[in-house]
Amino acid sequence: MIIYANVLWLQKDGYSKEEYEDSYCPKRISKKKFRYLEGDYFHFAIADGATETSFSKIWANILVHAYCSGKFESENLISNFIQIQKKWKNQLSKKSLPWYAEEKLKMGAYSSLLGVSIFKQDNDHPSYGTARIVAMGDSCVFLVRDNDLVYSFPIKESKEFNNRPMLLPSINNSQQIIDLLVKEKIELKKNDQFFLMTDAMACWFLKTYEDGHKPWIIINHFKTKKSFISYISKLRKDGDLKNDDITLLTIKIT
């Protein structure tokens, strides 16, 4: 099994690059071209920090790195998650904040998380390989096989998207929230292609598919970041894509 992965991202129109609040992991796939990744298993994750909470970019970063270092695979998920939450608190500035920043800090940061782990075939497993998926919120993964969409998770239809998803909090409620994480396992086939994307693009992807088209063909033609930005800008201008941060992580299995 050879895995190629690529990531493309773009901040909201009218915002600076520093204000991009999504995150992805591993960072080593951030180059323009697909990369061959070696190893028996691979972890990939994307996260979307909520606009309405502060320090969500830091939280999104912590979550994707925690996922890619196997913290969500462990049996000790609750204690791991509490440690992950502590990491967020520890990364925040120790300097004094204005009253509103202090009050907002008490609310915590929130983020979606979508993690996909791909395991190569082993002796106990008859298939080509397996993928395990963990999700919270509205970041989605789509599996395209034989030029058709065969799997959409955790959201199945574009009408399910709204501005109020359930997200992972950086404070409190560790037990309750971990119970709400959704998990899936998929048997893989050669030439499977995964598309991981944050909500705005995922909504466009599903809408386009529901209308009888194949959005993955468009995505596969983004040969450069420039062509990706150009297409996204056009969609936003025409009102076909919500003005939101966008992260698109593509995984090809051959």
Binding site: S54, M107, I218
Partner: protein, 304 residues
Amino acid sequence: MGKNIFHIKALYINNVNINRGNIMVYSAEISRRSPTCFIFLIDQSGSMEDPFGGDKTKKKADSVANAINKLLQNLVIKCAKGGEVRDYFHVGVIGYGYENNGVGPAFSGPLLGKDLVPISEIANNPSRIEERTKKIEDGAGGLVDQTIKFPIWFDSVAVNGTPMCKAFTYVMKILEDWLNEYPNSYPPIVINITDGESTDGTPLDISESIKSLSTSDGNVLLFNVHLSSHESNPILFADSSENLPDEYAKLLFEMSSTLPEYMQNVAKMEGHSISSSSRGFVFNADPVSVIQFLDIGTRPSNLR
């Protein structure tokens, strides 16, 4: 290659058509380059000295001051991002009924005399900051006290009459200027907090004029928060005037805008009982939910 380029073009055309079929009002993005506007109208008349909701120890004027400070605090926190506040909102607080039945800006402290200011200016210029305690969940099923900072921009005032018509006329002028500058923004929201007894005529006509102002995204919304001495149960987003306790409540209900469909959906998600006729009318209840209906981006459903 030629075939694939054609395919992409075809999708562009198709998506444009989809969008045209779904154009909605009250859907404009709220951002720093396209902010929206909140104007709070505060009744400062002598009758606001009366008790609130049957509680003889609590004056309506104090409840108003508390409500407006809480609303401003919530708006600021909503726009706070790290150590800064993003100017998603322009906000005015206009009082009516104070000295000589006057109408004018009601901020105290550094913002004294200002009609409409960006939310970051409000954030950084409270008149003073008090410390209060509130109950929060302790994560183990119980509640604990947490000290919170409570900024004050507005102090309780209660003198003279209730020149509501004059107040709405004053707001019309502010809105007209703002709408000239931001013709495509999310429509302004006017929130009138009163005990309902207008002393300069019926405000029905002038409230209709305010609601007839618009941006390309929809008409100005007028919401009313009625603080009454009645001992009736609180009412949020009434959809009929039938069960309202007095004529003032009924008049304020008639003046209030119907909640746009988007707000109705959010209100339902927040657990309110809502119908397609529900209006922005609140009787003896906390008005903070009204401002939580506006989205400036993703708001976690589990954020409380």
